[in-house]
Symmetry: C2
């Protein structure tokens, strides 16, 4: 037994997804749907508001509701913690700390991070392995002002990524994915050849516009990829005017 607003939502969603109602098509007015489904306007309103919130339709007073334009240009990527990912896939994960050093931010890195030069940081290098084979090299900077407890944490039993996630509240994250060639040191650690293509994920995490941590995770290109699905139901909200076509 599904609720009425859910049924209205799904009926309309199905018509949009199938292409029966193309972008720009006018959705029936609330009072029309009230007639069709024999329910109150609040119920219809709830269904249409939910569709609008998901970006499937655009609503405008006095004008009506319209199927939103398609967007293929946004996709939701699963970018997980390495240990979590390995566990989910049923693989064995291990890691070891290669370097752990407290220092101050040099000018170049400071600019790159948008933080003041001289700020105290913890620099961590860490090698991850999945099923015994090197899978990722993690190079991390933790802002000690934001995470004072990192000063005494040895990360012996919990990897730094996971530890930080549980420890520190954050409000924004930015990811960048790059392809780079392995330099000699990286190749040696990842047990691959110098010059081989590597997939690098860079993640910077903020809390209230102050950096919490910055990390580069370098994966061997022959053992790693990122994947993401896009369903039109997840389309992002974007300002767009309804087309005046097909009604």
């Amino acid at each position: 037994m599904v609720s009425i607003h859910r049924r209205i939502f799904e009926d309309i969603e199905a018509r949009i997804m199938s292409g029966a109602w193309p972008p720009g098509h006018r959705i029936p007015f609330e009072h029309e749907l009230v007639q069709e489904y024999q329910c109150s306007r609040m119920t219809v309103n709830k269904a249409l508001s939910a569709l609008a919130e998901r970006g499937m339709i655009i609503r405008r007073r006095k004008v009506g509701s319209f199927v939103a334009a398609r967007q293929i240009d946004r996709t939701v990527m699963d970018i997980q913690d390495i240990s979590t990912e390995a566990e989910l896939a049923g693989h064995d994960h291990s890691y070891r700390i290669l370097m752990r050093k407290i220092e101050t931010l040099d000018a170049v890195t400071a600019t790159q991070l948008g933080e003041p030069t001289g700020a105290e940081i913890l620099r961590l290098h860490c090698l991850h392995a999945v099923d015994g084979k090197p899978n990722a090299l993690e190079r991390r900077i933790i802002m000690l002002a934001m995470v004072p407890s990192a000063r005494t944490e040895g990360f012996a039993s919990v990897p730094p990524g996971k530890w930080l996630l549980d420890m520190v509240p954050w409000s924004k994250a930015r990811h960048v994915i790059r392809a780079v060639s392995a330099d000699a040191a990286t190749a040696r650690l990842l047990e691959t050849e110098r010059g081989d293509a590597c997939l690098t994920l860079i993640r910077q995490t903020w809390q209230n516009s102050r950096t919490v941590t910055y990390v580069e995770i370098i994966h061997p290109g022959d053992r790693f990829q990122f994947a993401g699905d896009f369903h039109p139901t997840e389309r992002g909200v974007r300002d767009q005017l309804p087309r005046r076509s097909a009604s």
Copy 2:
């Protein structure tokens, strides 16, 4: 002037984002918020339902509402059409068709795509340049059964990616990002060195579980990257039980 349900939503969101209400923390009951905001329960319910829909909180009857566990593992990536992307950034975009051939699916590719061997396809190779410099090599397969009008389209003025987007309804897309080393032919076309790291985007688009198009877009690694932001407000919905801690 913001609406009441919006204000409740934002107040709670702010407390979650700041870390004042950590994961597992119990949100006040609806009747408590009714008291606090001096409004009806429907209004409170709307705010809390919206928070639940966004995955910020978990609600359970007779138990209450709780701050959901943090998820950093999903990010929204902008993966745009090459020409659109260049235009947005104020650059000049051009392309030329390297190959355009109608053939039938061989067994290997058919399996890879999950389509029947022997299906008629249009195979397209296309080189994109931004500000005169090669920026991407596009290798595309279009299923002619799904897009019959592609048979006669020359793609002289509209690049295939854009043309398809406007032409064909689709219901699902899958993206994969990989790092690969350039082979000799690719390197020559992209004006880079053989063996250089390249960032490859693979996109397969379906309509009702039938493939519409499959494309590999190979970017030179020194001229390209993907970026995506994650805001906790956009966190995905996932089944999780409330923790019994902090109340």
